[in-house]
Symmetry: none
Subunit: 192 residues, 4 copies
């Protein structure tokens, strides 16, 4: 399910990501995205049917990167708790390193665009569903409390998102110790 990227498409994605992060969807006209991507407006319409289409494809693109990241850890050959902690840390570090992606996705999720494709996401092997599955694995192995995956994910992701958002606002970075402490809190909270 990897998205094939021509060079132009990549430029457009990068420009859109940066622009949307700084100025929001509404503050990012196609003309400016085109200029930032050093591409003609018309060219964007060669690759994307509409602005909405561009944004949604951009979402899939980001989501894809995230999914691969997560998959490599989830499917690695380590003890559950190790993977549980590692995944969370890597997720946070990824977001911290790619703030544009984090910012974009947060905006996306609380935008009407999301509404249109939600059903699609829930059905699919999305990164979200992968994580729910990973939680359920922990429950089955009697390592996590007996709760439904969606609830566990609220905790797992909620704390991560909340932490990164705080850093985004304050323009700072958590120390390694802080990150470890937070995984600790989560693990202590959800472990059996």
């Amino acid at each position: 399910m990897n998205i094939q990227l021509t060079e132009k498409k990549e430029q457009i994605f990068a420009a859109a990501l940066s622009m949307i992060n700084d100025h929001g969807f509404h503050g990012s006209p196609m003309s400016k995205i085109a200029k930032e991507a050093k591409v003609a407006v018309g060219s964007i319409y060669h690759y994307f049917a509409s602005k909405e289409d561009l944004i949604i494809e951009l979402y899939w693109y980001c989501s894809d990167i995230l999914k691969n990241k997560a998959l490599s850890i989830i499917e690695s050959n380590q003890a559950y708790e190790i993977r549980f902690r590692l995944l969370w840390k890597e997720l946070v570090l990824f977001y911290l390193d790619r703030m544009e992606i984090f910012g974009f996705m947060e905006q996306f999720y609380s935008s009407p665009f999301y509404e249109g494709i939600r059903a699609h996401i829930f059905k699919q092997k999305s990164e979200r569903n992968m994580l729910i599955h990973f939680m359920e694995e922990g429950v089955e192995e009697k390592l996590l409390r007996d709760l439904n995956g969606a609830l566990l994910i609220s905790t797992y992701l909620g704390v991560a998102v909340s932490l990164v958002k705080r850093c985004l606002y304050h323009k700072n970075r958590p120390t390694d110790e802080e990150i470890n402490t937070l995984v600790d809190i989560i693990w202590n909270g959800v472990k059996k």
Copy 2:
């Protein structure tokens, strides 16, 4: 610090809240907000200098409601743990009951509007700062792990937001038991 509301202003706020929730900032033209509020466009501009101003005042209005809610619990005469749990539950229930407020605030926080007033919020006796203070109280009383308030808040609020967002998306409601379980998870995670 309560915001004074004329009847007209309240109509406008209600209309804006509902509209923005359904269609986002960009999908909520002043003309439609006016119509929904049964008010002339010009009248909105009598009360608010611009659309941006309306949105920011709406934020303060929501923030104020939230703050009062929180304050009444924080300052109540009960054991810390009771208040810790109650506050979290009430927060979640409030958001669940006033989804328009929750949805609006989430959009607001990940919009460029927020950028403009962030500094202002951090300095002020905002609901956020009240909660940080409440966390620090727990640390001082040796009831919570010795972490900085902002970090604790990431957990406390992150899980709540994440839960409510899930309900918003799925258009369902967590059971009381689920809510209790989540506070439990949080409390177990952060308690000393």
Copy 3:
């Protein structure tokens, strides 16, 4: 034909004059004129039927002041040349001292408002017609070249207006000597 002024009306005129001078007709909304005049908007509409009406009445008001000024000199008991020179100087000095009036009238004359009342002005004992008459008096007395009054006025007023405009732009004032020189030029040009 003197316009009766209540105190309110005078405040409104003064405010309009100053405002229009600084920001033009279009940059002078009734609301701002009202504020500057320390009067409610509604009050302006008590005295004037519309904005256009206010502007046109303001024109008559200014024109009236000018006419009285001119009349007192034209009808004074002095030799024609003396009056010819004095009138010109006084006109220039009046405009220099009441730049708001000059600026307003210039704007008025090159605005569509003027179009609407031009016919009215030409028929009336306007300051313009008074001056034409004064020129014709000079021609009849064989003191001025035998030209039609309107043509003579073009010279007489054209130079005055041009001079004052230059001062308005440069925000300076002509010396007495300069003023005398210019009347001299005019007189030499038109005398028999």
Copy 4:
């Protein structure tokens, strides 16, 4: 220093000129200018940043035409007095033939737009400065009275503008004889 004109730009200029003449700046909405120019509103904004920008560029365009007109006479190989008279007549005739340009420029000069670029005009090789220079040439050659150029220009231009304005109002045209008489008056007034 000629302004480059695409065909579209020229259509827009022509439409704006005519519209502004008939209805003033305020009575000339972009939408109507666009319609008159047979162009989409958006297209105007492709060429001009704003309405103000359009008006100011239109001013430069008119000023340029005038400057070239004047230059060709001033630099021609004829006696000073001949050029002095010819230039004045041609100026008047040009204005009479291109009333839209005259009307526009008069409105422009007594509008707030002018304020913004005045400094620019005074510094530049504007038609005004060219004329001042031409007057000074006459003074140096001892053909004109020893006055500063700006003062002489007040006379030279003031009478011309005043004459044309009269014709604009009365919708008539001066006879050749009348024009000659007026240059005569001016020349007699300012010659040594």
